[in-house]
Structures are given as structure tokens and as C-alpha cells.
Subunit: 403 residues, 2 copies
């Protein structure tokens, strides 16, 4: 599974959430900061905040955390203005980044690792989606029906190497989980790290979770022994293919619902990515639609290449009428509420912001859409509903401004 | 199982150790103290200490924590001398107290509860041995062969009521566990507490353990549904009888190995208890033995009435030659090492001390002996070995002083 160097120890844990909690308790003191991507897993931040340990946001691009952004934060660190020592710990989800779905290649990892060596930063590599890496999206009309991975070797060699694989100093603590590959809720995963840290995690376990549930360990162990290594890899390969099918299906549905225009992004969170900008496809009033399309797309997205999420950027920012909203509710939350009332539940973007003020300015908005759970019929229905709701939302907004 | 008042909520957790950790994190701040019995579960103390939360020892008698001792600590609390605010949280194992095996009756619980009301102290009732309550020990020669509990009703009515059962203010947080009744290592138990605390524990779980392992929950739930309430009680009754059999057997073995003289204790940790003082039974040199017996017993013990531990007090304190031991090793640890080398593993008493200086003075010593795990043959062998080792130990000590 994960390469195990002679200097590394594997220790089971009760799921990556608890493992990250143990990292925070082991490595951080109150008043410390932890380096995270500007959009990050909110639970990871919620784990630290009660102990007065704050997220330090690093800018992102299409591969996730930016090495340029990281270096800038660390080089320019000023304890007197930030009120905290320079961060010594990084939390990162390098594959299927939560929420953006980005996949980080080995070159970027090497750049980040080298910077962490320079500034003595520990890297906690939270990698639950590692085995769910997907090929780039190809629109339905251009897609062949062939299976993606013709054999296990092709699958394994397609996987991006981990931070662990380039760790020669023992500064990577890798968190793996069975929750995305065997069963959600099995609360079973493993640390891979140097033996000094592993010993501390084990001691910490003695006054908290002890070992993971014995029944769960027995069941998963029996399954793995029964499968053997080859069976396990075959299972993971099929799983990755299944996620790719679902990813393709939900993007196909969005393609049915909207006109997706391919573009290339050169700045911001999606810098270096092929981006799809979504326009209204077939409104009743064609003339109106041409006008709208000329102004702006309704939203943009990038096809994720791993994991189970689509990160969707709403383009609401050219509509000044909504900025003066007195009740403080953002456009994002207004649309979120409309969708929820229509029976579609997306995760609102503000939850994932690592910045000090984690509420979007009025006019901005993001959604994280999960495609892991729903079957194809439910996904189709949800995206159709999303189309109806989002068109209505934009139409109402735009009618106020287009004469 | 546990009576559930309308104002109480039941919430599953990942075992009592983790549940106590969550109580500490929820209720305590760094610099606080937590009320514990003077001999207490060491893991409970180890949970607090890294957060600079210290145990505050309360004296004990034959029922566990003393209400007189508790009142004294709280009434005389002086923040300026102790350097910490008056404790607001108590940790207590009222049934099968770990390590002494004491069982606390309802009258004592009511006294302690009332004091906690007066001083606004939360009571964390860690009660994993609740269903393992045993009848008083009757020596083998006087014991009838009849089964202890003739039916479920007799068993249930024999159980001491819990702190929870008298809690009218929501200040009791009860921790139950399946680890002593279904399987060790299943990491599954439950909080019973007011809904405000339960909500906080649930939120805290979201950034740590999440829910307990789903496989474990499924297995235990299926078992309970299959048994039904009656089947569960029948299982618990049989389990309590099994523990009583083992308790009786190990005490019988000690009775075979030593002369156990019944006495009644009026002070200290065993105040109010029938106590057994153990003398050498059949030494080669009878005259020597008479002399030794006239001086002192080798150790004393009280038959536990719940749980799985015998707490054994060694009488080493009249042997000044050992006080001047230069290497700082206590008599307790010298004997412990002799026993371990002979293949018998007891828990050394110093581990369980909640007092500031948790090393015994030279000449004092305690052991905690578990009778939960070993089968009868292994128990017999262990106690025989213990007899050989402890007699040799005392003989060597005594020969230096008896002309």
C-alpha cells in the first residue's frame, strides 16, 4: 500500500479525523499557527481552534497549495504582527483536495517538501482519497467506452507519489484511512511516520481512544487476508473507476443542463487548469440569453482528477443590487437555501475558508458538490433541479439590471 | 440498563477512557484540579496531567471515597496555598473501585452527591464494573455450593444504585462500557448525562473520534437485539457469577497458601471492612514462624465485592534495614521484581497513587492483583509461586533481625 521505509513505523488509528487531532495535540501549543491551504477541510480547522491554534492560509492554484505562496508566508513571517511564532506544522490534503478536488503532482510536492526542510515544518499528509485518483474528464461526445485502467499495473503507476515517498528526514506524518475504500464509519486507518512520533501517538492513545475497535480491526483484517495484496489492489482499481464513472456522469449532467465552455485559467485557485464556464443553454427568451452570455457565465468549475467533490465557483459578483443586502446573508447562502428548499444539498463554500474572515463578501460564492453517494438517477434529478433553481436565481437577479 | 430520566440523554462513545478524556477537555481548564480517590485509576490521572490539570486526592475507607474526607478538602480549600481554584469536577469509580475493589453503597453516594451540590462539583461516574457486583466472600469451608443469584430479579435488586439514579440537578455524567461485559477492546460505551453536555460531547466527537466504529456498533447491536432485554440481563448475571467464582477461587488459593486471619479494620483505606491478615502457614522452622507471626502478618487484603481486582497491602514497614536502601528502589518494587522474574505479574501500588509524591516510602507497599483473565489452573500456579516468593522475601528480611 504505502511504501514503508526502514525508518518508518505504521500504527493503526481510529480514523484520520482523530489522527489529525492527535497530531495537533502532539505537535502544537496554544498560540501556534498551522499552515493550511486557503480552502481547506473545515473539520481540520475546527480541531485546532478550541486550543487557540489558528490556521495560516496559503494560496492555492490548480494543484492545490502553492509552493510560491508557501515560501512567501514563511519568508515574510513576522511574529510581532501575526502574534504567533512561525508555523512549524502543515496540514495538507494533497490528493482530492477537500474541497477543491485538486491533485498535487510530485514536482509540486518536492518544492513544498524542500521549503518545509528549509523552515523546519512538519507535514501532516491527510490522504484519504489517495486511491481515488481519476483521469482527466473527457466530454461525453468525445469519450470512448473503454475501461480506464486495463490492469493493476496501469492503475498503480497512474497514482501520484506521496509526500511520504520523498521524505528523507522523517518530517512527514502520513494519515491513511479505510473509510473511503472499505466502509465509511469503520473508524480505522493508520499513521506512517518516524518511530519517535509513533511512540508518542501510541502513548496518547492510551489515555484516549486506546486501540481502534477490535471488531472493526478483525473484519477489515479478515477481508484483506482473504483478498490478498492483488485482490486489494483490484478492489481499489475498481473503486477508482467507479468514482471516475460518477464524476463523468455528474459532469455530463451539468453539460446537459448548461452550456459548458472550455477555457484555460492563468490565475487564482484554478491557475493552470482547464476550466468549464457554465452558461444558460436554452432559455425561453433567446435574445435575453445572448445578452446574459455576453455578460458572464453563471458559474465555473474544474473537473476534479481525484476524490469525490466538485468545487463550483458562482459568478454573482457583477450584481450590485445584492451587495446592499441588509441582513448580512450572502448571495451564496441565498442560493444555497433555494437549493436546499428544492431538495438539493450542496456544502456552502464559506465552511471551507481558512482565512480570518471566513464569510464571503456579498457577490462571491462557492459550493462543494459531492458525487460519492447518490446513484445515477438521483444525481440526474439533483442536477436538473440545480439547473432550474440556479437559472431562476440568475434570471431574477439579472432582470433587475438588464433593461 | 441504566435508568434514563426524561432530562437525560444517552450518547454512544468510543470507550470510557476516551469518554473521560472528552469530559476533561469539556469541563476543565489548564491549572484546574480534579477530585479523585487517594488510590485511583492511573490512566484517568495521566489523561489530565499533560494539560496541567492535577489530581486532588480525597481519603478513602472501605466504601471508596470518604464523604468526610471530601467535605474537608472542599471546605478548607485555599486557592493561595494550592495554587489552583477549588475543584469543580470529580472523577470516581464507585463500583469495583480501581484499584481497591471497593463498592460504594447508596448512602455514601447520597452524602457525596449532597456535598457536590453544596460546592457545585460535577460527578463523572466511571462505572465499567457496575454489572460485576459480587456477594461477600465466604471461606471455602463455610461456603455452600448453591448459585448466588437464583433469578434475574435477585441479581438486579442486588446491584447498588448509581450516582445517576439520585441526580436531580444534571451534575452526573455517567460512563458505561461494553468492554467488561461484551468484549475488551470493542471500544464502545455510552454517556448518560444532561442534554447540554451530550451536545458538547457530540460536537467534540466531530473533530476527534466521530462515532464509534460502525462494525463494532453493528455487532453489539445485533447481539443485544438477538438477546433482548431478558437475555442481556441473564448474560450479565452469569458474568457476575463467573467473576464471583474467580474471586472466590483466588482467595481460596491464598487461603491454601497462607494462614488468613479475619480481623476488622477501623481506620484508613479499609475502615469498616472485614480484613484478612496473611501469616506464613507451614514453614520448615516452626519456632521461627511463631516468632514471625507474633511480630506481624506478611500482608493484608479485603475481599472485593465487585470488579476484578484484589488490593493487597504489604506489611514491610517494621524492617528498618531496608529503609536505608541507597538506590531508591522501594521494597514494593523489589518484591514486584522478584515476582515478575518468577513469572507472576501484579500491578505495583505506586501506579495508583493520586498523591503528589506517588512513590511509597520505603517499607510500604501495595499490589493490585487481577483475577479476570487467568483460568483456574494458571491462578493456582500464580498464587503458589507468589507464596514461595513472598515467604522467601520475608524470611530473608526477617532473618537479619531475629536473632
Amino acid at each position: 500500500m504505502v511504501p514503508c521505509f526502514s525508518s518508518k513505523v505504521i500504527l493503526v488509528h481510529a480514523g484520520n479525523t482523530d489522527a489529525w487531532f492527535k497530531c495537533v495535540q502532539t505537535f502544537c501549543n496554544p498560540g501556534d499557527g498551522v499552515l493550511v491551504s486557503e480552502w481547506t477541510y473545515p473539520s481540520a480547522v475546527a480541531t485546532m481552534v478550541p486550543y487557540n491554534i489558528k490556521p495560516v492560509a496559503v494560496s492555492m492554484d490548480g494543484q492545490g497549495m502553492s509552493s510560491v505562496g508557501l515560501k512567501k508566508v514563511l519568508e515574510k513571517w513576522d511574529e510581532s504582527t501575526t502574534g504567533m511564532p512561525r508555523p512549524r506544522v502543515m496540514y495538507i490534503v494533497p490528493i482530492g483536495q477537500n474541497p477543491t478536488g485538486a491533485t498535487m503532482g510530485i514536482d509540486r510536492k518536492q518544492e513544498i517538501y524542500d521549503i518545509c526542510v528549509e523552515f523546519d515544518v512538519l507535514i501532516v499528509e491527510d490522504d484519504p482519497y489517495y486511491f481515488l485518483q481519476e483521469a482527466p474528464y473527457v466530454p461525453q461526445s468525445e469519450r470512448s467506452a473503454t475501461v480506464r485502467f486495463i490492469n493493476d499495473e496501469a492503475y498503480l503507476s497512474s497514482l501520484a507519489p506521496s509526500f511520504l515517498s520523498i521524505d528523507y528526514q522523517g518530517r512527514v506524518i502520513r494519515l491513511d484511512s479505510f473509510s473511503k475504500t472499505i466502509a465509511p464509519g469503520c473508524r480505522l486507518g493508520w499513521f506512517t511516520c518516524n518511530s519517535t512520533f509513533a511512540e508518542r501517538f501510541e502513548r496518547q492513545g492510551e489515555t484516549t481512544t486506546q486501540a481502534p475497535c477490535g471488531f472493526g480491526q478483525s473484519i477489515v483484517t479478515a477481508l484483506l487476508l482473504n483478498w490478498g495484496y492483488d485482490g486489494y489492489i483490484r478492489w481499489l482499481r475498481a473503486l477508482a473507476s467507479q468514482y471516475q464513472l460518477r464524476r463523468d456522469f455528474i459532469l455530463d449532467c451539468l453539460g446537459d443542463e448548461f452550456h459548458l465552455k472550455l477555457d484555460y485559467e492563468t490565475s487564482g485557485v484554478w491557475s493552470g487548469c482547464d476550466i468549464y464556464r457554465a452558461f444558460d443553454k436554452a432559455p425561453a427568451d433567446v435574445a435575453f440569453n445572448e445578452k446574459l452570455a455576453a455578460i458572464q457565465p453563471m458559474f465555473s468549475l474544474v473537473s476534479p482528477t481525484s476524490g469525490m467533490y466538485i468545487w463550483l465557483q458562482l459568478h454573482l459578483d457583477n450584481h450590485p443590487s445584492f451587495n446592499s443586502d441588509g441582513d448580512g446573508e450572502t448571495l451564496e447562502m441565498q442560493l444555497w437555501t433555494d437549493l436546499a428548499e428544492a431538495g438539493v444539498l450542496f456544502a456552502p463554500g464559506w465552511m471551507f475558508s481558512a482565512k480570518e474572515d471566513n464569510l464571503d463578501a456579498p457577490g462571491e460564492g462557492q459550493f462543494r458538490i459531492s458525487f460519492s453517494h447518490a446513484d445515477f438517477d438521483a444525481t440526474k434529478k439533483a442536477i436538473t433541479t440545480f439547473g432550474v433553481v440556479v437559472r431562476k436565481f440568475f434570471e431574477e437577479m439579472t432582470r433587475r439590471h438588464v433593461p
